[in-house]
Every structure is written in C-alpha cells, then in structure tokens.
C-alpha cells in the first residue's frame, strides 16, 4: 500500500476533510489503489517535453480595467438569509 493511514491523515488535513479511524483505513486503501494505478506514468520518458496545462495553449485574455457589474447586493441578499445592513453574516467561529 502506497499510503499509510497517517499519510492519508496528513493529506486529509490539507484538504480540510476528516474521517473516523475505521473509515480512514478503507480510504487509505482506495486512494493507494488510485496512486498505484497512476504510478505507471513515471515510466514514460518526458525529457524535453513541456507540460500541457491547457488543451488549446491559450493565453489569458485581458479586458479594460473598468467596472462591468452593477451593485447587485439586494438580489444576492434575497438568496441568502445571512445579510444584515449590507454585510454578509458568517457564524462566530473566529477565536479570540
């Protein structure tokens, strides 16, 4: 198995996910099976090959730096129950 349970716990922490210890073993098994499967990529010679991040090799399109969107707070506020006096309310979770 490529990934130990503690390896997976570290990855899960980075991804903001958690799991019970019994499920962690199963998950480590499954993710290991995926990692083992994709390991075959490493046998291919890619010397002097540039990575292809995007199928069309596009460049980022730019636009003039002007405001294109009008204030739509009222419309957005209607969709969420968490707005008070133009402020978006989040739960009080910030430690003192």
């Amino acid at each position: 198995m490529t990934l130990s349970v503690s390896d997976l716990q570290h990855i899960a922490q980075l991804a903001y996910l958690e799991s019970t210890p019994d499920k962690m073993t199963k998950l480590a098994d499954e993710v290991s099976s995926i990692i083992d499967f994709v390991q075959q990529l490493q046998q291919t010679d890619t010397t002097n090959v540039a990575p292809l991040f995007h199928p069309m090799d596009l460049h980022q399109r730019l636009r003039p730096d002007v405001v294109t969107e009008e204030d739509c707070l009222a419309e957005l506020a209607e969709l969420t129950g968490f707005v008070d006096e133009r402020l978006y309310i989040v739960p009080k979770v910030i430690e003192e």
Partner: protein, 483 residues
Amino acid sequence: MNSLRSMLDALLQKQISSVELTNHYINRLEKYAHLNAFISIDTEHALQQAKIADQLIHNNQAKALTGIPIAHKDIFCTKNLRTTCGSKMLADFQAPYQATIVNNLAEQGAITLGKTNMDEFAMGSANENSYFGAVQNPWDTNRVPGGSSGGSAAAVAADLVAFATGSDTGGSIRQPAAFCGVSGIKPTYGLASRFGMVAFASSLDQAGPIAHSAEDLAIILQAMAGFDANDSTSIDQKVPDYPNLLKGSLKGLRIGLPSCFFQKEVNSAVQKAIHEAVKVFEQAGAVIIEMDLTLQPLWVPCYYVIACAEASSNLSRYDGLRFGYRSSKASSIKELITASRTEAFGEEVKRRILTGTYVLSSGYFDAYYLQALKIRRQIQQELLENLNKVDVILGPTTPDCAFPIGNCPADPVQSYLADVFTVAANLAGLPALSIPAGFKEGKLPIGMQLMGKPFSEAQLLNAAHQYQQMTDWHLARPDEDKL
C-alpha cells in the same frame, strides 16, 4: 415526431402548440418519475413560457428552438431552479445568475422543464454517486444510465424532454449517451461557454447536447455554442451553420480505426457492432485506415491525475462559509470548514479530492502532476499527428454496455476504466460524439464514438448524420411497458 426538426415543423405549421407539447412531456415526466432522471421540475414556469412561445409562433417571430421543452443537467446555473450539482453541498443552492449556454438556448426559444440528475460534481460513470439517488436506464430499469450526465441521457431516451444538456470532463456526455441509446457530442474545448457551469476540472470540462440524432445535435449545438467574454477560455470565432452542413457525401472520408479500440477487454458484441458500422461507412465510400495509438494505455492514468488535481483545487471553494452546506458542529474556523466539507461531500468526491491533494502536495507534484501534464502533451501530439492522416477516428464509446445498478466495482480504478476510450478527447481538447450503433443481446444499446480535429464538429456531425440516414439504431425506443 421522431426528431427535433419534425417537432419544430409541427410547431411552425401549428399542428401542435407549445403548450400541448409541454403538457405531453409533463405527463410523461410524472408517469416515469421512478426513473429518477430529474432533480428539479418547474412545470408552472414551463407552461408560462410555452404560452409565450405559442404567441411568438403565431406572430411569425419564432427562433431556432421556440416552444421546445428541454432539460438542463443540474450542473448549469439557472435563475428559476436551484443548482445542486448532484451534491448535498449544493442541495439548496440558488444561483444568482444563469449559465451562458442556458441563456443561449433560452434566447433561441427553448423552454426549461427541469434539471436532470447527475453524479455528484460530475464525478462518476454510472450516476450512482448522486446525493439524489441512482437513475434507472430506460432500456433496462435494473441498469445504470451511465454518468455523469445520466439523468440527461435517461430523460432523452425515455422521451421525457425533446433534448437535454450535459457536461463532459472525461466522457460524461458520450458514455451515458452510449448506455442509453441516444446521441451526444462533446465539442472542441472552448466552443461552448463554461460560464455558469459548476467547475470540476477546468481544463477538461466542456458543455454539449444529448438528443436522439446527429441532426438534432447540429441544431442544438448551433444555438449553444459561441464566444462568451465571461469565459476566459472561450474561443472567439464564428459558429458554423451546423444544420446546413449535414449534406456532404462520405465518399473519400478517411476513417482511422485504432487497433487499441478492439482489444480483448472490449465486449465481443460491442466489437461486432462497431465492425458492422464500419462496413456501412465503407459502403458509402469512406476509406478505412488502420492505425496505432501507442500512448493509449496512459490515457486513463494521465486523465485521473489531472482531473483529480484540478478538482481538489476547484472544490476548495466549498468552505461552508461563502455558499453551500454549513455544518452546525463547529467552534473554530478550521472546524467549520472541515465539518462542512466532511458532512456534505460524498465518498467519490472525497476520494478524488484526496488523490488530487496528494499529487499536488510538496514532494509529489513533479512526479505525478507535472509528469501527467507532459504526457498530456505527448497524447495530444500523437492524436493530432494521426488526425493529419485521417478525418475521423472511430471506435466503440465504451468497452461494454450498461451494467446493473449496485454493481459498481469496489476498486475505484476498475470503474475508472469505463472511461478508457473517452478521456483522450478531453485531454487533447478534441471534439467527439457518440451515436447508437446496435444492441447487445437485443436490448442494451451500444455506442460508437467519432473523434476529430479541433473545430471539426461539422464534419463529425455530417459523418454521424449520413450514417443515421443509412441505419435506424437512433430511431429505436425503449419498451414503454417495461419502463
């Protein structure tokens, strides 16, 4: 009415009204609700739109799709209906704007009847990963419809709507189209806007239609496609008149047959059906050229590294704060984010986020992610070089037909292999379509895939259309008594 064209003609000639047509589909939606093809339905709004459509037709102001009831995959943001993406995370998400392709189709007069079921965040090949339950395949209700656009393919196959939209990151339009005996196209990357389509893997995702025939697809794609300033990867070029380009002869069309598409792992009935289809093309004057795609064994591993990496990054936005599900069990910011994500993401989504996080993490980035991107270039080059020698590459869409519900392999890698023939088009950004090409054991649809050069949709659609003029697989419908 077997085709979109005949439906449009009937509306224009006032043999049927849009209200009648919409009611016809509403009745079917209710009758076949057990297929679970839909997540949300809005009959009231649809009937209002149908009344407006009838008025427009009466005033001779009809556009390309005026009065046609359709469905959108629940990955496309809509203003009148929630957009769940098949996830508990977005079960109550109401988007403040509409996807560009939703607007484009509405602009041409299509009426949205509802939103279709799908694998959570489009991750899956069986539609069994949906928070809203599995979808039944209309050809055999004990079997899966494919995924991730399983609801869309099932809805079209069972004639619950005239057509439906889908999204395709690794085969999610073509594979369910093949399993459900309908036609579907994944356009060239950048042809259809991704604005308002919930992101899975941004360099692979493309929107496209699912319908009964290539002619239907041509009509719909013309309305869907086009430049969109809101999508930074949208291609700024004129959309060809696809429906009017469905007329060239197949004489001299060079069809490439890769040997890797006919390996022993591919079901013999599927192989036989595709060979029969090749004969039809040959009889129409096409030239068959055998070819080797030596990098094919790397398609699926390369795809899963890139798709999972991009997914882990895209799905980091679901933090329980900005939108989506929010856990009630938290006392710190970290706990809130972790609990919200843990409670609301399904198993497959978690597996892919973890895999993606692993391949992007320090110490593994070069060996996995960067290496996959280099191989992606090699795969694209091999396909483009071969597409200089042939006009289309033909093969089965999937190695086998629809499998029973609840029969997904325990090993995730085994289920990923269902995408073995479809992922290449996404990695290379190429257009590819799937059309019906026969049945296994007389009842399970078999799909045939045609893949072409970038922006060769007109040629692919014409090849598929000419094939459908010589065959009738696309006209077959599931037995209504067994639905």
